[in-house]
C-alpha cells in the first residue's frame, strides 16, 4: 500500500517538503525560554524537598550507629570495662548497653551470664538484647541465656523470652531446652507468668516446640484467670499460623468458639479477633458461625470491652449477613452509639457496619433517614484527628461519598483545605470537594479552588486547576464562572497553571460546544509557553477544532510542525488530525501544510499508530473528500460528567473494607496481599426490599411484587447486583478460575459481563418459560390456576410408563447461554438427580471460528449452597462446530445466600477467550433427598402442630391421573406417600419430602374425581397443603418465600411460604419433634 501512495504522490511530496523546511526561527527562539523557565521553577521550589538537616542527621547516625547523638555522658562510659556498667546502677539508662563494641565481648557476656549474682545476670541479658537489637549475632550465647530462664524475676524472664523468640528458629535443637521451663511456667501460680509463657511459646516457630505447646495451651484456654484466657485465645491464632492442621486436630477451634461466650469482654474480643483471622485463611469453613444469639453476645461485649476489643468485634460484625432488614436494623441501632467513641478506628469500623447493613434497609424507612443523618457528624469529626488519621478517614470518606452522596452533601465546608494541612490531606480534601460540588455550593467551591491555584505545591495547584474544569463540566450553571476563573489563572503566566488550565478548557469546549470559543484568542497567546505534551496536544486540538475562527490557524499549526519529530506521540497524532481538520475547513490555503504533515507522519515516522492514521487520512482525502469531512469532522460524543469514579463493583467491595488498608489504597486486598489470604471478595448484602411485601406492602416498591409479574426473570435487574458480587474464591474446590492470576481481572471481567447480561434475557429453560412466579403467602388459588393447568397437561402427557421411573424427572436441555452472547460458546443444559447425586448436564458447543480450551465453571452463592463438586473437565480443546456433553456433579456444601427467586443460580464460565455469565433456574426437585419419607406417627404428630400461617393451598385442574398414578409418579422424584385415605369419595394422599438443607415439606393431596361419566381416572382438582418445618422456624415468616419448582408434580412454580434458606441456627427453638425431624445437624 505504501508503494501505491508513493507512486501517486511521490514527486509532489518531496517538493513540498523541501519548500517547507526553511526554518522560521520563531520556534527555536521559544524553546530555550521554556527551558529556562523550567530551571527557574525548579529552583524556586526548595520547600518540596525534605529538610536537609534531618537527612544528614539520619545518614550520619547510620554510619556511626554507636557513637553519636545521645549526649556524651552515656557514650563516654563505653571506654570503661564492662564491669563498670553494673556498678553504675540499673535505674535510669539503658543506653550504655549499646556501647560494648570491643572484641571478645561474647566471652565477657558469657561469663556474666553464668555469674551467680542476679543483678549481674540481668545486666548481661540486657546487653545481649541490646546487641541483638542493633543486629549483632549473639546466637552463640543461646545456652547461657536459656540457663537464665529459670528465675522468678519477671523482668529477667521477659528478657530471656525475648531472646528466645529471636533465635529459637536458628537454633531449634537448643530451643528444646527451654520447653520444660515453658511448660512449668504455664502452671505457675502467678497468672502474669502463665500468660507470658503461653504468649511467648506461640511466637516460637519451631515445630518441636509447637508440639509441646498444645497441652499447656489447652489448660490456659480454660484458665480461671481472664488475663491468661485472653492471651491463650490469641495464641490459638498464632499456632494456627504455624500449623493449621494441628489446631484443627486438637480441637482448639471449638474451645475458641466457646470463648465467645466468655464472661470477660476482653476474652471475647480476643477470641473474636483470633477466629476472624483463622476464618480469613479458611474462607469456606463456617468457623465464625454467626447467628442471632452469638451476634447478641458480641453486641453485649461491645459495650464493655476496651477500645481495641470494640474494633475487633465491629470488624467481625461487618462480616455477618443479617437474615432480614429487621435484624439489620436492630444491629444498626446497637452499633450507632459507637460513633461517639474517641478512638477513630472504632468510629470507622462502626461506620463500616452501618454502611453495609444499610444496604438491607428500605429507603422509605424512617430509620434509614435517621441513620443517614447520624453518620455525617462523626465523619466530620474524624477530620479533627491527627493528620495521618485524617488521611485514612478522607480516603474512606471518598468512598462513602461515592456510594451515598446524600450523607455529606451539606458538609462541603469542612473539606476546605487549610494552609497547614500536610499535602496528602490537601489532595484528598480536594478530591472530595469536587465530588460534593453541586449547584448549591459551587460559588464557594470555586472561590476556594481559585485560592488553592495560587499555592506552592505544584501537584496540589495542578489538581486545583483541574478541579475547576471538572466543576464546569459537572455543574452547567457554573461553567461560565469557571471559564473566567481559568482565564484569570492563565493571566498569572505561571507555567504549569497555564498548561493545566488549557487542558481543562479543552474538556469544557467539548462539553459545551459553541459557547466559550471567545477565549481562544487568550489561549493562543500562551502557545509558546506550553512544554508539556498534554497541554500542547490540547492546544493543538483546540486550534484544529476551531480552525475556521482562528485567522492564523495555519501559521500556528505550522509552527508546531517544525519540531514534529521531537514531539511526543500524543502531540504528533493530535497535530496530524488538527491539520487535516484545518485542511477540510480551509482547503485552499492549507494544501501545502497537509501534504507536509502527511508525509511527515507516513514517511519519516517509525510509529505505526501515527503512520496508519496518516495513511487513512491520506487515502480518505484523495478518494472522497466529502466522506473525509464526514469522518473527520463528525460530531463528537459527549464527555461524561463524573470522572475517575471508582467502578461500582469495586466500590461495593471497598465499602466492606472501610477502615482497612484496602480502603486507603482503593484497591481490593488481593492487589496487595500475598498468597491465598484475602482472596475472598466481600460483598454488600442484597436488598431484601422486594420480598417483604406481605408485612409492609407500602415499603416494597410497586411492581416488584412477584405475583404480578408473569415474566420469568422479573427481578433479574436486581440480581445483577448479586452477580457482580460473584464469589470467585472459596466454595469451589479449586477450579482454574479461582487461580490467583484471575483474581485481579475478575472485577473488570464482571463489569464487562454486566453489560451483556443487561441486554439479554437470561437463558432460562423453556420448560419454565411460560410459568409465572407465584405469589407469597397470600396466594389466591385462582391466581395460580391458569398457568398451572396448562403446565400439568404437558407433564402428564409425557407420562409413558407411570410407576417405572428409575430416577426423577429430567427436563430436556435448554439453551442457557446463546452463542451470540458468549463469543461463540453456546451452553445448553439441564439438571438431574440420580441415586442421590445431583448433576448439571451441560452441552457445550463451539460456534466460533477458533478453538476453545481451558474451561472452568463457578457458581455464585445461592440459596441452597449448590456448588460444583468437581472442576469442569473438558479434556480436549473444543474445535469449531464441535460440541461436548458433560455431566458436572454438584454438591450442596457451597456458601449460601438467599436468591430471588430462590432457585436462581448464577453461573460464570470461563474459557481461553473470556469469562461469561448467565443465570438459570434449577428445578427444585433435584434437591429432594431420598430419605424424605417421614414415619407415619411422626407425620401425624407434626401435622397437628403446624401453625396455620405455615400453610398454603392451591389447586391443579384437569390432571388426568388417579391417586396411585400420582403417588408413584411423585415417588420417582422423592416425594413420598405416607398415607392414603378416602373421604366421601375423594382420595386423600399425604405426602412428605425433604430438601437437602433439611427443610421438610408436608402435603395433603385431595383428588376429586371430576366428571363421573368419564370411565377412567380423571383428576380434576388437587389440593396441596404445604407445610413446613424448619429449625429456623422462629424467624419472621413473612420475610421468606419459597418457590418450589417441581417437575414431577408440576412443571411450574408453586409457591408457598417457607422457611428461610438453610441457616446455621441450631435446633433449639422448636423442641423435641422438630429436632428429630431435622434429620441431620446443620453445617
Amino acid at each position: 500500500m505504501p508503494r501505491h501512495w508513493g507512486m501517486d504522490l511521490g514527486p509532489r511530496r518531496t517538493r513540498r517538503f523541501c519548500a517547507a523546511s526553511g526554518p522560521p526561527a520563531k520556534r527555536y527562539a521559544a524553546r530555550p525560554s521554556g527551558a529556562e523557565q523550567d530551571a527557574g521553577h525548579a529552583h524556586s521550589l526548595p520547600q518540596a524537598r525534605p529538610p536537609r538537616v534531618t537527612r544528614k542527621r539520619f545518614s550520619s547516625a547510620l554510619s556511626l550507629p554507636l557513637g553519636r547523638g545521645s549526649g556524651g555522658r552515656s557514650w563516654s562510659s563505653s571506654s570503661g570495662p564492662p564491669e563498670t556498667h553494673c556498678k553504675t546502677g540499673t535505674k535510669m539508662t539503658d543506653s550504655k548497653y549499646f556501647t560494648t563494641t570491643k572484641k571478645g565481648e561474647i566471652f565477657e557476656l558469657k561469663a556474666e551470664l553464668n555469674s551467680d549474682k542476679k543483678e549481674k545476670k540481668k545486666e548481661a541479658v540486657k546487653k545481649v538484647i541490646a546487641s541483638m537489637t542493633v543486629g549483632k549475632d549473639v546466637s552463640a550465647l543461646f545456652p547461657d541465656v536459656v540457663n537464665c530462664m529459670q528465675t522468678d524475676n519477671l523482668e529477667l524472664k521477659k528478657l530471656v523470652y525475648l531472646y528466645l523468640m529471636n533465635y529459637a528458629k536458628s537454633q531449634p535443637d537448643m530451643a528444646i531446652m527451654a520447653v520444660n521451663t515453658f511448660v512449668k511456667d504455664c502452671e505457675d501460680p502467678n497468672p502474669l507468668i502463665r500468660a507470658l509463657a503461653v504468649r511467648t511459646m506461640g511466637c516460637i516457630r519451631v515445630d518441636k516446640i509447637t508440639e509441646y505447646l498444645c497441652e499447656p495451651l489447652r489448660k490456659c484456654l480454660k484458665d480461671e484467670d481472664p488475663y491468661v484466657r485472653k492471651t491463650a485465645a490469641v495464641c490459638v491464632a498464632k499456632l494456627h499460623d504455624i500449623n493449621a492442621q494441628l489446631v484443627e486436630d486438637q480441637g482448639f477451634l471449638d474451645t475458641l468458639k466457646d470463648l465467645i461466650s466468655d464472661s470477660n469482654p476482653m476474652v471475647v474480643a480476643n477470641a473474636v479477633a483470633a477466629l476472624s483471622e483463622i476464618a480469613e485463611s479458611h474462607p469456606s469453613s463456617n468457623l465464625l458461625d454467626l447467628n442471632p444469639q452469638s451476634i447478641n453476645k458480641l453486641l453485649t461485649a461491645l459495650n464493655e470491652c476496651t477500645e481495641w476489643g470494640q474494633i475487633f468485634i465491629l470488624d467481625c460484625l461487618a462480616n455477618y449477613m443479617p437474615k432480614d432488614d429487621r435484624e439489620a436494623q436492630s444491629i444498626c441501632e446497637r452499633v450507632t452509639p459507637r460513633l461517639s467513641h474517641a478512638n477513630s478506628a472504632v468510629v470507622l469500623s462502626a461506620v463500616k457496619v452501618l454502611m453495609k447493613f444499610m444496604e438491607m434497609l428500605s429507603k422509605d424507612l424512617d430509620y434509614y433517614g435517621t441513620l443517614l443523618k447520624k453518620l455525617a457528624p462523626p465523619l466530620v469529626t474524624l477530620l479533627s484527628a491527627e493528620p495521618e488519621l485524617q488521611y485514612v478517614a478522607l480516603r474512606n470518606i471518598n468512598l462513602i461519598v461515592q456510594k451515598r452522596p446524600e450523607i455529606l452533601k451539606h458538609e462541603m465546608k469542612v473539606f476546605f483545605v487549610k494552609y497547614n494541612d500536610p499535602i496528602y490531606v490537601k489532595l484528598e480534601k480536594l478530591d472530595i470537594m469536587i465530588r460534593l460540588a453541586s449547584q448549591a455550593n459551587i460559588a464557594q467551591v470555586l472561590a476556594e479552588l481559585k485560592e488553592y491555584a495560587t499555592e506552592v505545591d505544584v501537584d496540589f495547584v495542578r489538581k486545583a486547576v483541574r478541579a475547576i474544569g471538572r466543576c464546569a463540566i459537572k455543574v452547567e450553571q457554573s461553567a461560565e464562572r469557571c471559564v473566567s476563573t481559568l482565564l484569570d489563572l492563565i493571566q498569572t503566566k505561571v507555567n504549569y497553571v497555564v498548561q493545566e488550565a488549557i487542558v481543562v478548557i479543552k474538556d469544557i469546549f467539548r462539553k459545551y460546544p459553541n459557547k466559550y470559543e471567545s477565549v481562544i484568542a487568550t489561549l493562543c497567546e500562551n502557545l509558546d509557553s506550553l512544554d508539556e505534551p498534554e497541554a500542547r496536544a490540547a492546544m493543538i486540538w483546540i486550534v484544529g477544532e476551531y480552525a475556521e475562527r482562528i485567522d492564523n490557524a495555519d501559521e500556528l499549526l505550522e509552527s508546531f510542525l517544525e519540531g514534529f519529530h521531537d514531539e511526543s506521540t500524543q502531540v504528533q497524532l493530535q497535530l496530524l488530525t488538527a491539520i487535516v481538520k484545518l485542511f477540510l475547513k480551509k482547503p485552499t490555503e492549507t494544501q501545502e501544510l497537509v501534504q507536509q504533515v502527511l508525509s511527515l507522519a507516513t514517511q519519516d515516522s517509525d510509529n505505526p499508530d501515527l503512520r496508519d492514521r496518516g495513511y487513512i487520512y491520506w487515502r480518505l482525502l484523495s478518494t472522497d473528500p466529502v466522506a473525509a469531512k464526514e469522518v473527520v469532522l463528525a460530531e463528537k460524543p459527549l464527555i461524561s460528567e463524573e470522572t475517575d469514579l471508582i467502578e461500582p463493583t469495586l466500590l461495593d467491595e471497598l465499602i466492606c473494607y472501610i477502615g482497612t488498608l484496602a480502603s486507603v489504597y482503593h484497591k481490593p486486598p488481593s492487589a496487595f496481599v500475598e498468597g491465598s489470604r484475602g482472596v475472598v471478595h466481600k460483598s454488600l448484602p442484597p436488598r431484601t426490599g422486594s420480598s417483604e411485601s406481605a408485612e409492609s406492602p407500602d415499603a416494597a416498591p410497586a411492581g416488584v411484587q412477584p405475583s404480578e409479574q408473569p415474566a420469568v426473570i422479573p427481578t433479574q435487574g436486581d440480581l445483577l447486583g448479586d452477580l457482580l458480587n460473584l464469589d470467585l474464591g472459596p466454595p469451589v474446590s479449586g477450579p482454574p478460575i479461582a487461580a490467583s492470576s484471575v483474581q485481579m481481572g475478575a472485577v473488570d471481567l464482571l463489569g464487562g459481563g454486566l453489560d451483556s447480561l443487561l441486554r439479554s434475557d437470561v437463558g432460562g429453560s423453556p420448560a419454565m418459560g411460560g410459568a409465572g412466579f407465584a405469589a407469597p403467602s397470600t396466594v389466591v388459588p385462582a391466581n395460580l390456576g391458569a398457568p398451572l393447568s396448562s403446565g400439568l397437561g404437558d407433564l402428564f402427557d409425557l407420562t409413558g410408563g407411570v410407576g417405572t421411573l428409575s430416577g426423577s424427572y429430567v427436563a430436556p436441555k435448554s439453551v442457557w447461554l446463546p452463542a451470540m452472547k458468549a463469543k461463540g460458546l453456546e451452553i445448553s443444559g439441564t439438571f438431574s438427580r440420580q441415586v442421590g447425586s445431583i448433576s448439571m448436564d451441560l452441552l457445550l458447543t463451539n460456534k466460533a471460528l477458533q478453538v476453545m480450551s481451558d474451561f472452568a465453571i463457578q457458581f455464585n452463592r445461592n440459596s441452597f449452597g449448590l456448588a460444583p463438586a468437581a472442576p469442569l473437565q473438558v479434556h480436549t480443546p473444543l474445535a469449531p462446530n464441535q460440541s461436548v456433553e458433560i455431566s458436572l456433579p454438584l454438591n450442596t456444601v457451597g456458601s449460601v445466600m438467599k436468591m430471588d427467586p430462590l432457585n436462581n443460580l448464577q453461573v460464570a464460565v470461563k474459557n481461553n477467550i473470556d469469562v461469561f455469565y448467565f443465570s438459570t433456574l434449577y428445578p427444585l426437585h433435584i434437591l429432594f433427598v431420598e430419605d424424605g419419607k417421614m414415619e407415619r406417627q411422626m407425620f401425624l404428630a407434626t401435622w397437628k402442630d403446624i401453625p396455620n400461617e405455615n400453610e398454603a393451598q392451591f389447586q391443579i385442574k384437569d390432571c388426568p391421573l388417579n391417586a396411585d398414578a400420582v403417588s408413584s409418579k411423585l415417588q420417582g422424584s422423592n416425594i413420598f406417600t405416607i398415607a392414603k385415605r378416602n373421604v366421601e369419595g375423594q382420595d386423600m394422599l399425604y405426602q412428605s419430602l425433604k430438601l437437602t438443607n433439611g427443610i421438610w415439606v408436608l402435603a395433603e393431596l385431595r383428588i376429586q374425581p371430576g366428571n363421573p361419566s368419564f370411565t377412567d381416572l380423571e383428576v380434576s382438582r388437587l389440593f396441596f397443603f404445604f407445610l413446613w418445618l424448619s429449625p429456623a422456624a422462629f424467624l419472621p415468616l413473612h420475610h421468606w418465600y419459597f418457590f418450589l419448582v417441581s417437575h414431577c408434580l408440576l412443571p411450574h412454580f408453586i409457591s408457598f411460604p417457607c422457611a428461610s434458606v438453610p441457616s446455621s441456627t441450631p435446633c433449639t427453638a422448636w423442641g423435641g419433634i422438630e429436632l428429630l425431624l431435622c434429620g441431620r445437624p446443620y453445617y
Partner: protein
C-alpha cells in the same frame, strides 16, 4: 500484622510475630524508601513490595508499623499514637536518648500492649500497676489477680481501693476556635473543637454524671416546665458531634444523652466536641494590602476584640506574611510590639493583653527587591494566636455529680473546679 517500631537509628526495632518476615529487610526498605526518600513524604502509608508501612513522626523519631495483610489502617494509626502516649507517660519526651535509655522498658510495654498484632489494654493507669521501671515487686496472690482482673476487666482504666483524704476534681474546658475569613470579612468556615479535660482525685469507684448546656438535653427537660425553655433556650448550644473517653457509657448517651462514667484516676480527656453554630469569634482581623508599584507594599491590619469588656485576652500574636523578596520593612503599631522576622517571612505583632471591645492597628511598609520572577506572590493568610478566658462555643458546665455508694462521701463533699480557656486554632484571614 507485624508491627515494628524503629527509632531513627535502628536502636529499637522490634517485630512481633510472623514468619518469613525478615524485619531487618523491612527496616532497611523503610529507611531507604521513606525516611531518606528524595521527595517529601506524600502519604503516611507506603507500600513497598507488597509490604505496607504506616508511620508517624515525633520530632526526629519515626515510629512505623509494618504489615503484609489488609489490616485496619485506622486502628494501626490509633495504636501508634497510643504507643507514643504510653511512652511519654513512662519516660517523658520521645527522643533518641530516651528511647535508648529505656529500650528494655519499650520491649516490655510492646510485649504487653500488642499481641500478635492485636492491641491489648493500653491504659497507662493499668499498665503502671505491673510494668514498672524498677522491676516487679514481688506481689501477693491477691495483688496479682487484682492486676489481671483490672487489665482485662470492664473498668480497665481504674483500680480498686483508691483513697484520698480530700476528694477533689478539676474540669478544664479547652476550646480552640478555627476560622477562615475572606478579605471582605465573610466567614468561610468557622468551628470550635473543644475538649473537656478532667483531673479527678476521688476515692473508691465513684459514679459521675456530667451535664452541660447541650441544646438537646435542655429542650428535653424544658418540655416539662414551659417558662424555663425560653430562659435557657438562648444559653444552650448545639453540639454538632462529640466523642467520649472509653469510660463513658455510650449506649446511655445514645438513648438518654446523659454522660455518665467512672473516671480514671488522675488526668484524662473526658470528651471532645465540635460546634459550628453561634460561635463567638473573639477577634476580627481586617487586612488592607496595597501594592505600590513593583517594589513596595503597604499593609494595614486592624484587629478588633469582640467579647465582654471585663475579660482580658492574652498572648495575642498576629502574623502577617511578607513576600519572599522583601528587602526591608517599617512597622508602626499602636499597641504591643511588632517585628519583621526575615527568617519566617512575616511580620510578627505581639500584644500581651487586650480587653474586650477594643481595637488596635498596625501599618507597615514593605520594600521589595525587583525580581523577574513571573510568579505572583501567593499571599498566605494572616494568622492569629490568642487565649481568652471563656468558651467561644458558649459551652457551660451545668453540673458534675459524684456518687460513691460504698464509701461515705457525698456529692457535696467533693471540691470541684471549673475553668474555661479558649485558644486560637487555625485562625486565619485571607488578604
Amino acid at each position: 500484622m507485624e508491627k515494628a517500631n524503629f527509632s531513627e537509628d535502628r536502636h529499637t526495632a522490634r517485630v512481633a510475630v510472623k514468619p518469613d518476615f525478615t524485619w531487618r529487610n523491612a527496616v532497611d526498605a523503610f529507611r531507604v524508601n521513606v525516611i531518606h526518600a528524595r521527595q517529601q513524604v506524600r502519604s503516611p502509608v507506603t507500600n513497598i513490595a507488597r509490604t505496607s508501612f504506616f508511620h508517624v513522626k515525633r520530632s526526629n523519631i519515626w515510629l512505623a508499623a509494618v504489615t503484609k495483610q489488609n489490616v485496619n489502617a485506622a486502628m494501626v494509626f490509633e495504636f501508634l499514637y497510643k504507643m507514643c502516649d504510653v511512652m511519654t507517660a513512662y519516660f517523658g519526651k520521645i527522643s533518641e536518648e530516651n528511647i535508648k535509655n529505656n529500650f528494655v522498658l519499650i520491649y516490655e510495654l510492646l510485649d504487653e500492649i500488642l499481641d500478635f498484632g492485636y492491641p491489648q489494654n493500653s491504659e497507662t493507669g493499668a499498665l503502671k500497676t505491673f510494668i514498672t521501671q524498677q522491676g516487679i515487686k514481688s506481689q501477693t496472690k491477691e495483688e496479682q489477680s487484682q492486676i489481671t482482673s483490672q487489665v482485662t476487666g470492664q473498668i480497665g482504666w481504674r483500680r480498686e481501693g483508691i483513697k484520698y483524704r480530700r476528694n477533689e476534681l478539676f474540669l478544664d474546658v479547652l476550646e480552640s476556635v478555627n476560622l477562615l475569613m475572606s478579605p471582605q470579612g465573610q466567614v468561610l468556615s468557622a468551628h470550635v473543637s473543644g475538649r473537656v479535660v478532667m483531673k479527678s482525685y476521688l476515692s473508691g469507684m465513684p459514679e459521675c454524671k456530667f451535664g452541660m448546656n447541650d441544646k438537646i438535653v435542655i429542650e428535653k427537660q424544658g418540655k416539662g416546665t414551659a417558662d424555663e425553655t425560653g430562659k435557657s433556650g438562648k444559653q444552650s448550644i448545639a453540639i454538632d458531634d462529640c466523642t467520649f473517653h472509653q469510660c463513658v457509657r455510650l449506649s446511655k448517651f445514645d438513648s438518654e444523652r446523659s454522660i455518665s462514667f467512672i473516671p480514671p484516676d488522675g488526668e484524662f480527656e473526658l470528651m471532645r466536641y465540635r460546634t459550628t453554630k453561634d460561635i463567638i469569634l473573639p477577634f476580627r482581623v481586617i487586612p488592607l494590602v496595597r501594592e505600590v508599584g513593583r517594589t513596595k507594599l503597604e499593609v494595614k491590619v486592624v484587629i478588633k476584640s469582640n467579647f465582654k469588656p471585663s475579660l482580658l485576652a492574652q498572648k495575642i500574636e498576629v502574623r502577617i506574611p511578607t513576600p519572599l523578596n522583601t528587602s526591608g520593612v517599617q512597622v508602626i503599631c499602636m499597641k504591643g510590639k511588632a517585628k519583621y522576622k526575615a527568617s519566617e517571612n512575616a511580620i510578627v505583632w505581639k500584644i500581651k493583653r487586650m480587653a474586650g471591645m477594643k481595637e488596635s492597628q498596625i501599618s507597615a511598609e514593605i520594600e521589595l527587591l525587583p525580581t523577574n520572577d513571573k510568579k505572583k506572590w501567593a499571599r498566605p493568610p494572616i494568622s492569629m494566636n490568642f487565649e481568652v478566658p471563656f468558651a467561644p462555643s458558649g459551652l457551660k458546665v451545668r453540673y458534675l455529680k459524684v456518687f460513691e455508694p460504698k464509701l461515705n462521701y457525698s456529692d457535696h463533699d467533693v471540691i470541684k473546679w471549673v475553668r474555661y480557656i479558649g485558644r486560637s486554632g487555625i485562625y486565619e484571614t485571607r488578604c
